[in-house]
Symmetry: C2
Subunit: 957 residues, 2 copies
């Protein structure tokens, strides 16, 4: 091309994609040609852009719409198809300036007799007009407005401010249609616009090229001409694209002026098609027009049509959340007969298959986890980990102290908070460093506490020493668990399905909620409210300091001397001033002293009204607990609001519990009420000073107790196994998208060793704590950030690492040195944290969702997948069975006489689930639960090992 | 038709729409033919239905999907179009059985050589197969399953249970393809299904007819045949339709078996098109195929296409909320050039135009409102009114009492709660009965209180009697207001735009919130917390009953005698038992008595520790206030949840405040803490007993005070005018969709009379109270109920009536007799109601939304219309000016020295708004605010009367 300086303005800019022609992601944009728009005449204006979704320039011209699903006019789409049929396709054009490209188009148009030479000349001029983008316009407009105000119609020319050397000059308000591209320093660069552009550029996928769609209605043109140009390689055409990208495709379409709006809609269709992945594949490699047309057809084949009567095309459809989609195109639906049943992901974990070798599972676990070990530390680098540590530290420390206190009461201080903290330090740190699944948090759990209490009472009633007996129970239990590890018996975990998981998790969460509320209410016992203050507690009068002063008793000191030495000079004086000396004060004088003075002068307060009495404490405790809960919930929910940038919201949500804890502790400190505070042991020694850190194996017990301990050990083993493994199953749930996998066998080995150690040292057993583990996982959720505009953030998985666990428990171990700080933390604040944890772990459970369904009229029920496939009444029946199981477990746990069988009842859940195969069909269970390994083959329960042999590698998805 | 008994099963059923042929709404349903599906063979199964939106039968076959926007396959839609091109169109067929219709189709098919005779015969048999609907299947399926279990494969036949004589017999599990329709009593009626059907039938519009779409893939057929039948009149074809409706259209399409899925999608398209209003018009009246084909084309022209890559067709699109739509079809968009600017509704109210006649506006108001008067009572019949009365009663009573208390303090009890209640009774009831806008609630407002306080202090400082001076102010004010009514000066209200409304409403709401919180905090002054209970308040010791007992004083009674008469015998005895008599008790003995005993024996408690002291009260007050707020907010929000049927939710939301009030009052009662309670006057007389209910015109004041009163009267008039009219403008806002209109002139007349009356009687002035009025309006919102399935409930307007207002204020007037109940209501509970009201009236204001926008990154900002058209920074500038005005008003109101100019500052808002025309463009103000009457003509402020002459009837939309 000889004219228009096209070469000039791209000279020297090396094309980054020279010679490449493989498929790349495309960024497309739509520019419309305006012969006049506001103060701008004869220029191209950017109207829309696509990365994955569409964004339009709002009517104000100042703002992008939110990214949305492009809703196209069917009419326009058909017009595009017809237009493309007659269009000029110029593939693999070798040109590196817009002028050069335009030349090629012009020549081809004339050759194909689509346009006369004159028309083609006008077209060329038009294409070479300035190309305005939204971010440039904003600034230009603002300045020109301010400028216009300043100059107030004096006809002064707008100065060119700033410089943007890489882009061609643009003349706003230019009156001529002539092509002016002289001043390469008179560009449009503004700091603001530039930074907005850069920010947007980050959203464009790596290596993307540009597709420019230019459309316009032109005076004097009576037909529509279309051209699609594919360049041989991507070329940076400077001002043509909004962002700095090599342009690869150019689509031009001109029609009669009066069809302007329709032509724009056709352009939107083309821009949308350019953003279509399948089309991108074809358009890069297509050898001829036919292939491209076929791809447009394919695009249309899969499109969805919304009838106008039901849907207004002006409504922007928000991009779908990833969980919505089921990923079947119309083509596939229309071709294959619909099955109606989607593949349901398999529940089975390949590590839960018995290897048939001694310690086979354990060896596999170690091998598998070893390669992640380094990353378990590297992956923790995030502010989120800090929030998680803070949260887990307080959650676990306070449970250790609380459980320690309860244990102390129940076991007459054989074990209490000090032992709990030692156990936390030893078990927590070693588990967090060695375990297969360090996301699981160990802790003292309710069922274990119940077990120990029953056992202790049994020992007391039968004259046995508890800790030595427990020593043997621990040895036995450790052995049983070791055998389970040896023979890969953790593989039985396969029989723990969602049914069991949910019942157990909801039970433990409810216990958490119940306990936290009842603990707050119990504050009222210690610090009761004064309901009727007009009935005082009783008198509290001041009495003479000591009976010896009035009645002669042996060894009585000279009270006068005492006064002389204990009273400050001033006070003595004030008494003198009152005309009294302490010696000659009558009973009445003493009684008339204020309580404060009385104490100061060495008198004593006598009467029921004198006991230490703390009003307001209970109600304030209630406020503290609820305050923490409400603040934490609110801040957690803040993530879903629109305020502040995402990373601010994310951090606020991550730190929800720490922030709530600090705020309410601060309020407590400021008011100074006598609320119960966190009291941790300050010395490293057993609570009972009479014992050491190693328990004698027999003490006063007979030798046979070592053998008898085997019986409770079986129960304890079941309890630990169920507690540990159900929690592990919950943590390892597929929904959490864990990449590093668990380690059921390894974890159980560690627990078995720890049980022995804890028994020897006389410290509480630690097993996986359900609610704390769930909350640990929740505190480490990762979501995608740099998605295409409009794409919803995706749940990426959990920040799988050991550091939060290690650090939190290390600090717990050393908390005896942190009393100076911790003593300010009120217990009700921690109860609030418990409440939050209980509610948070409840809210995720499908069981809870299904329970709520009962209260929803059918037509309002959400679109759960299981509701699509299972009869609602059958769903309710399933829920009812779970709720009944839950209620039974709750009762067993609460009624002291039978609570020893709690572990057996948890185990029974698996059998209940097995029995449900008689009530529900396989299809129903598939949707409401996971299938048991035996399922679908025979109804009769078979020998389990048989089954596993049949299916040696599971049906791993 | 000669065979198959078609006549039999419709015999005697009269066709309800015989002879009619005008257009009616259509209910369409899709039935698919299955040669085998589960236990049912050779039958038609209902797959989808349309009223306005589509509902599908879920994969489970047991459940309808939620109503959703039909998302069609573009491919299927095109196939339908082609199919219709070749289809058999049978218009105005006269037949009244399915058999008869089938016969017609069969003959036509053969005639047109679409099918061979044999094929046509098969087709006829197929059409006559049983037609199953979802609600029938559910029950049949359940029974057959239970039955199958009971019989366990013994091959027993299913018994026919129940009866449904109007429908033909259906043979589930039948193996033959033969047509069996013998037993008319062996139907499928079940109570459950029948009631579900009835319930659904209510959703179908009055007079609707049915369109049945039947499609299927048939073995052996190698092409697709289609027929569309329009019956001469609607015929009840019994089992064909899901509900009892005359069928008018039948669409049949059969194709090859392997195209089953595609054919079903084509059927969905046809069903959707039948639900399209424009198509319905055409298909009823069309004279030939061409017209119908053109209408299908038109349907397609306006359809919207979503690209498959961006949208998964499996996602059900929820029906749009009505506020979303802007109602432009693609056709109109593509034809006209887009304007980008939608019509903005005019702000002006036609009643706000000066008539030019004396009392012209007033006369118009009375004329206009008179015709609504009867309906103002009838329209109140609703449970919602009861909730509103309860809410308004407590809101107004408590503000009257609270303001009364504050007034009593400020005016040395010249006026207090008793006067307030009298004013409420007189002004409230008369206003509610006579006013043009009875939704506006009168009350004592903060600005009035400030005005009276300043005036009172002025009088006190200058030795004037307040009430007589106020008498004259009232006379003047009444006269000024009357002149305003006379000359229709309320027309100036046109200058109160959204700008002023919002600033004023938000100010008053913030004051409400601030006051309610500060009142709760003030409880701490009267009932402080005991922060350090280990420092007791001081001694409180028991003393001898009376000084006369120890020191001889004149007139002292014989104390022994007093005891003997005042003490109960038992008490005397217990003292005897202790070996003491009251006479010979020493000071020490007295001091040792408990406080309770001391008081009982006639002793007295002396010392700083004896003063009545109520711990816990403050914190509990705080809990009560927050409790009411949280419960009321929660219950209000309950309406948006999915639980329980709509009417239950609606009632819970309506009664949110009463429920919260009752719950928290109950808790207070149960605990019995000494919280401050609502204390209302119990007698009908002035607070100062020295005055009567008529104020003497001069009292001790000089005669000229009657003239001097004119000066403050001007201020008071401005205040009353602004307070009253801004509130009226807010209530009459177009967004509230009021149908009966307001009555600015009439209302002002009533106020002017009341001002005189209140001045004469010496009771507080009552004017429109912003927050209470807004909450009154909010409590009476109406929403549509019986919409098509899936249609969102629409806001229909406000329940415009007088009854809630009349009843609430009548009861307030008589509340002096209700002390027995009201004394149990704690004030903090009422503060909670205030807090709720403040927050509720804030949350609707666009100003608040715009303030929050500041904290939102641009890309997260919601899709407000003004954001589409106005630069975000300009929006923020507008908001900033409003916030500044708000802050200035707040300061003026709070700083005592200048608070007298508050009314002038409110007036100034209108001038600020006028000045903003220099900063903002007309377009910006149009989107952010309403335009002032002068706007767009000249920038210079003109004589207002001039302007109104130019535009005598406003630009009423």
């Amino acid at each position: 091309m000889g004219k228009a300086g096209g070469v000039e303005f791209s000279a020297g800019a090396p094309s980054p994609s020279e010679g490449e022609s493989e498929e790349r992601p495309l960024f497309s944009e739509l520019q419309e040609y305006y012969q006049k728009k506001g103060e701008y005449e004869e220029a191209w204006h950017q109207e829309a852009r696509w990365i994955k979704y569409e964004e339009n320039v709002e009517a104000s011209g100042e703002r992008w719409t939110k990214p949305h699903v492009a809703s196209l006019s069917l009419q326009a789409l058909y017009r595009l198809k017809h237009q493309l049929n007659d269009a000029l396709f110029l593939l693999d054009v070798k040109a590196d300036t817009l002028g050069g490209i335009t030349d090629v188009i012009k020549d081809a148009m004339i050759e194909e007799e689509l346009l006369s030479e004159e028309q083609a000349g006008i077209m060329e001029e038009i294409i070479m007009q300035p190309h305005w983008h939204k971010h440039q316009l904003n600034h230009e407009r603002r300045e020109s407005k301010a400028f216009a105000r300043r100059m107030s119609h004096e006809g002064l020319q707008l100065p060119s401010t700033g410089s943007f050397p890489r882009r061609g000059s643009i003349t706003p308000s230019g009156n001529s249609t002539s092509f002016s591209k002289s001043d390469s320093s008179g560009g449009l660069k503004r700091v603001g616009s530039q930074s907005a552009m850069k920010k947007f550029q980050r959203k464009i996928p790596e290596g993307a090229e540009g597709a420019s769609v230019m459309v316009g209605g032109i005076d004097g043109l009576d037909k529509t001409v279309t051209a699609l140009v594919r360049l041989k390689s991507g070329v940076d055409l400077m001002e043509l694209m909004e962002v700095e990208l090599p342009t690869r495709f150019i689509f031009v379409m001109f029609g009669p002026k009066h069809e302007n709006t329709a032509i724009k809609q056709v352009g939107r269709c083309m821009g949308t098609i350019f953003s279509h992945k399948d089309f991108q594949k074809v358009v890069y490699s297509a050898k001829d027009k036919k292939e491209i047309l076929a791809s447009v057809d394919a695009f249309m084949q899969d499109s969805t049509v919304l009838p106008a009567s039901e849907w207004d095309h002006n409504i922007h459809i928000q991009p779908p959340t990833t969980t919505d989609t089921q990923g079947k195109t119309w083509s596939s639906v229309l071709k294959e007969p619909e099955e109606g049943e989607e593949e349901i992901e398999d529940h089975a974990d390949p590590t839960l298959v018995r290897t048939g070798r001694i310690f086979g599972g354990l060896v596999n676990d170690v091998k598998r986890k070893a390669k992640w070990y380094a990353s378990d530390f590297k992956d923790a680098l995030s502010l989120q980990s800090l929030a998680s540590i803070f949260f887990i530290y307080f959650a676990c420390l306070s449970t250790v102290i609380t459980f320690g206190g309860m244990m102390g009461d129940a076991l007459d201080n054989k074990m209490a908070a000090a032992e709990g903290m030692l156990a936390a330090g030893i078990c927590g740190v070693s588990y967090s460093l060695l375990a297969g699944q360090p996301l699981t948090i160990l802790g003292c759990t309710g069922p274990i506490l119940v077990f120990e209490t029953i056992l202790y009472n049994f020992c007391k009633d039968n004259g046995m020493e508890y800790l030595p007996f427990r020593f043997w129970i621990g040895i036995w239990t450790g052995a049983i668990l070791l055998i389970m590890v040896m023979f890969d018996l953790s593989a039985l975990v396969k029989y723990i399905t969602k049914f069991t998981e949910e019942v157990f998790a909801v039970l433990i969460s409810l216990i958490f909620i119940y306990e936290s509320l009842s603990k707050v209410i119990k504050v009222n016992k210690k610090y009761p409210m004064r309901i009727k203050p007009d009935e005082p507690l009783g008198p509290c009068t001041c009495h003479r300091p000591d009976p010896v002063m009035t009645t002669v008793m042996p060894g009585a000191e000279n009270s006068t001397m005492v006064y002389a030495t204990t009273l400050a000079p001033g006070m003595n004086k004030s008494l003198m001033f009152m005309g009294m000396s302490l010696e000659n004060m009558t009973d009445g004088d003493w009684a008339a002293l204020s309580h404060e003075d009385c104490l100061e002068y060495g008198g004593k307060l006598v009467g029921p009204g004198c006991k230490e009495y703390f009003p307001d404490v209970f109600l304030f405790s209630f406020i503290l607990c609820m305050g923490v809960f409400v603040i934490a919930m609110g801040l957690k929910g803040f993530k879903e609001t629109r305020y502040f940038p995402t990373f601010v919201r994310q951090n606020i949500a991550d730190f929800a519990v720490p922030i709530a804890l600090v705020i309410m502790t601060g309020i407590d400190l400021a008011l100074g009420l006598h609320t119960p505070k966190l009291q941790i042991p300050t010395e490293f020694r057993p609570t009972l000073h009479s014992r050491g850190w190693v328990i004698p194996p027999f003490g006063a017990n007979a030798w046979w107790t070592a053998l008898a301990a085997g019986v409770p050990a079986i129960l304890l083993s079941i309890l630990i196994f169920m507690d540990q493994q159900i929690t592990s199953v919950i943590v390892n749930n597929k929904a959490n998208k864990l990449k590093k996998g668990g380690g059921y066998h390894l974890d159980l080995l560690i627990i078995s060793v720890q049980v022995v150690l804890c028994s020897v040292m006389g410290i509480p057993y630690f097993v996986a704590a359900t609610v704390r583990s769930i909350n640990h996982v929740l505190s480490l959720r990762k979501e995608s950030k740099n998605a295409a505009p409009g794409e919803k953030p995706k749940f990426l998985g959990i920040r799988e690492q050991r550091v939060t666990h290690v650090v939190a428990f290390t600090v717990i171990g050393f908390s005896i040195f942190m009393n100076a700080v911790l003593k300010y933390v009120p217990m009700p604040v921690l109860y609030g944290v418990f409440l939050y944890m209980g509610v948070a772990s409840l809210s995720g459970a499908e069981l809870v969702q299904r329970m709520l369904l009962v209260f929803m009229p059918r037509k309002y029920q959400p679109d759960h997948k299981f509701l699509r496939h299972v009869d609602t009444n059958r769903v309710h029946l399933f829920t009812a069975i779970q709720v009944t199981s839950l209620a039974i477990l709750w009762v067993v746990k609460s009624v002291k006489k039978i609570s020893i069988i709690f572990p057996l009842m948890v185990l029974a859940l698996c059998f209940v689930r097995k029995g449900m195969e008689w009530i529900f069909t396989e299809k129903e269970l598939k949707h409401l639960d996971n299938l048991l390994p035996a399922m679908g083959k025979k109804k009769e329960p078979e020998d389990k090992t048989e089954l596993e042999k049949l299916d040696p590698y599971g049906s791993h998805a």
